[in-house]
Amino acid sequence: MTTVRIDAHRLHYTPLNQKIRAAIADGATEIIIDNVLGQRFIGDGVRGDDVTITVNGVPGGDLGMFMSGPTIIVHGNADHAPGNTMDKGKIIIHGSAGDAVAHSMRGGRVYVRDNIGYRGGIHMKQYMEKRPILVVGGAARAFLGEYMAGGLLIVLGLNGVTPISERGVGSGIHGGEILVRGPVDEQHLGVGAKQTPATEEQKAMIKPIIEDFAKQFNLDPAPLLVSDYTRISPASARPFANKYTWE
């Protein structure tokens, strides 16, 4: 394993990404970036299934955007839209993240240890074998899974936080599913979303994901696996079917 260290202190994102790409081209599989502070687009469009990028600091928005393959581990909070339209790979955030986390994500996984902002998982979508997964350890703000067209979104409410306490969950959802540990107040559901208690089968489906999430953050998965979950899914795959009439 070849390790490359990059000091990002006062480094603009373009040269930073150039260094990352150069390192990968040179065969590096582990890239450690220190002193990250606000640089946007880290790992944007980068390929490399065996590459791990460790970000020490607070990256700017659109972390791992269009990324296809690598794993990014952030030791700090992330800003808006980590995993934006990401294709493959993994983003593991040891902290919280801003609004629109995993926006339009197509594949791979985003794990956020703590909380996320508004519109998490907005318009995540799946196609054939590509099924994106977003797992949030803490709580999510309003409009979680809005427009969701596919994929899996899990909110765990760790450390005693209420996972969902704001409006618009699954508003316009027409594909994919949201699993929330514990109950969800009906008033927080968005238009076109319905909730049911998760079945044993559904819990079994998320078990390996939760175990992997717990492993990344050194958590005990046991209490997460015995909990009850609420499953939020589309009431219809055609939310607009009744909206229009012909001239």
């Binding site: 809005e146 316009g172 968005g190 607009f240």
Partner: protein, 503 residues
């Protein structure tokens, strides 16, 4: 008669290949166009008003109605309408009565205004997935709030809010009286508004007891004739509207002919059967703005200040100043009825020549109230020629809080805008009191159609707002920046306070 016959207005023909002589046209035409003679159906085109009832009920699409089949020599000044009006008056020496709204081809301001939408610098909002607030409160609002800071950090509201009507869409149905329209038509409208959560006006005809179940969605009208007005009537309404004038005929009163005052109408209007119901031009207890205030307060005292009181005026040149006076009179809302407003019957000369368009009137009223710093204290309801959701959006941008629709709601029940309501022969059972015609209008199905219409408009309005990046209707109100004038002249753009397209 030296003038002789004048050409048909409409020529009706039946395609013999298609007709199966079922006689539905004969049954449905209330104007006597069709007559069955043996297996044949005879046609008297002269009686046709183009209400399309026959067309709508012909099972074989066999009927054709052609407008103006015979040409006059064309002339830009001496139009067909002008010539025929002269023939008419030469024959009769009378005032020409007409129906529906202004029929002159004045340019429609609505159609020369275009709406805005977001691109890039701010996101549009999807109303189906994110909150979109069309809720509107009609009534008086404080100019500022008196609050008391409590020791526990809480705040106590000292100002007391006065009653407002809460509507979930800025679309209400205007005043069309029992008498002008049938009871079934009123019931259909009433069912629709109560299901939607909006309001309708009773018109000046009182409140028939079969409307009592819907009274909490009804605005009772007090007009110059005071028909059907007693304390019970006032208390039943959710709000009270003083009608000063009407856009279709500003400055004149109304007249329901005795023939239409049947037993039921007489009872609701509280006048003897068969007697003419005459609404004077002015209210004879209102000869000045101070008197208006007196009546507003009289109505409020009578109903213990529990009901909002609206004042409706026709849009005239001086609407802005009048509205400012109304706003200071304890009235809760000003209704501005533009010159395209419909009516069952109005002198043609008034319908076509008196008053101004609601777009200009609302813009100038809104501006005047703002100049005086009292715009938000009173609501503005616009009516007269609101045809589609875009008109609603545009008039709100110009400063209205809500609209009344009239003709549009009737069209939703089948009205074809034939404009002969005053004949009392409405084949659709709307503008008639003839029991056999009224029966044609099923209140339940028609209420669903009216409800559908308002629902569809409301959806479109939400889409328009969302596209403009606005999620609360307050932010559309008076937002002239979101309008542009297209081929409007400079003077009008100044009145409307809008820029031209491209600016």
């Amino acid at each position: 008669m030296s003038i002789g016959s004048i050409p048909f207005k409409f020529k009706v023909s039946i395609d013999p290949d298609r007709c199966m002589s079922c006689g539905r046209c004969v049954e449905n035409c209330s104007y006597g166009v069709f007559k069955k003679e043996g297996d044949d159906i005879r046609i008297n085109s002269r009686n046709c008003v183009a209400c399309h009832r026959c067309l709508a009920f012909c099972p074989r699409d066999a009927i054709d109605i052609e407008e103006k089949p015979n040409d006059y020599r064309s002339h830009p000044l001496w139009t067909r309408e002008v010539r025929e009006a002269i023939f008419n008056q030469a024959k009769t020496g009378k005032i020409i009565l007409a129906g529906m709204g202004n029929a002159k081809p004045y340019p429609v301001i609505f159609d020369r205004l275009v709406l805005d939408a977001c691109q890039v610098t701010n996101p549009s909002i999807d109303p189906l997935r994110e909150p979109m607030e069309l809720r509107t409160y009609i009534g008086k609002k404080p100019s500022s709030l008196k609050l008391k800071q409590l020791p526990d950090g809480e705040v106590e509201l000292i100002t007391k809010l006065t009653p407002n009507l809460q509507i979930e869409t800025p679309i209400m149905i205007g005043h069309m009286s029992y008498g002008a329209i049938s009871l079934n038509a009123q019931i259909a409208l009433a069912k629709a508004v109560s299901r939607i959560g909006t309001f309708m006006g009773t018109g000046e005809g009182g409140l028939h007891e079969s409307l009592y179940p819907y009274q909490k969605n009804m605005i009772v009208q007090v007009a110059s004739g005071r028909f059907g007005v007693d304390i019970n009537y006032l208390e039943r309404g959710a709000a009270i509207e003083i009608k000063i004038g009407q856009g279709a005929k500003p400055g004149i009163g109304g007249h329901l002919p005795g023939e239409k005052v049947c037993a039921d109408v007489s009872c609701t209007r509280m006048i003897p059967e068969g007697s003419d119901a005459i609404s004077p031009a002015p209210h004879h207890d209102i000869y000045s703005i101070e008197d208006l205030k007196q009546l507003v307060r009289g109505l409020k005292e009578a109903t213990e200040w529990k009901k909002p009181v609206f004042v409706k005026i026709a849009a005239v040149h001086n609407s802005a100043a009048i509205a400012a006076g109304i706003a200071r009179s304890s009235a809760d809302a000003v209704v501005i009825d533009g010159f395209r407003g419909g009516t069952g019957a109005a002198p043609r000369v008034f319908r076509d020549h008196v008053g101004i368009p609601v777009e200009a009137a609302v813009a100038s009223v809104d501006a005047k109230l703002r100049q005086q710093g009292i715009r938000n204290e009173v609501s503005i309801i616009a009516s007269g020629g609101i045809r589609e959701s875009a008109d609603v959006a545009k008039i709100i941008c110009l400063g209205a809080d809500a609209v009344y629709i009239g003709t549009s709601a009737l069209v939703a029940m089948g009205c074809r805008v034939c404009g002969t309501c005053y004949q009392g022969n409405c084949a659709w059972g709307i503008a008639t009191q003839k029991p056999e015609l009224v029966r044609r209008l099923d209140p339940e199905t028609n209420s669903v159609q009216v409800e559908n219409l308002i629902h569809g408009w409301t959806l479109e309005l939400a889409e328009l707002m969302g596209a403009a990046g606005i999620n609360s209707i307050e932010s559309l109100r008076g937002n002239r920046d979101r309008l542009r004038g297209y081929m409007l002249d400079e003077g009008l753009m100044e009145v409307l306070d809008v820029k031209t397209v491209g600016a």
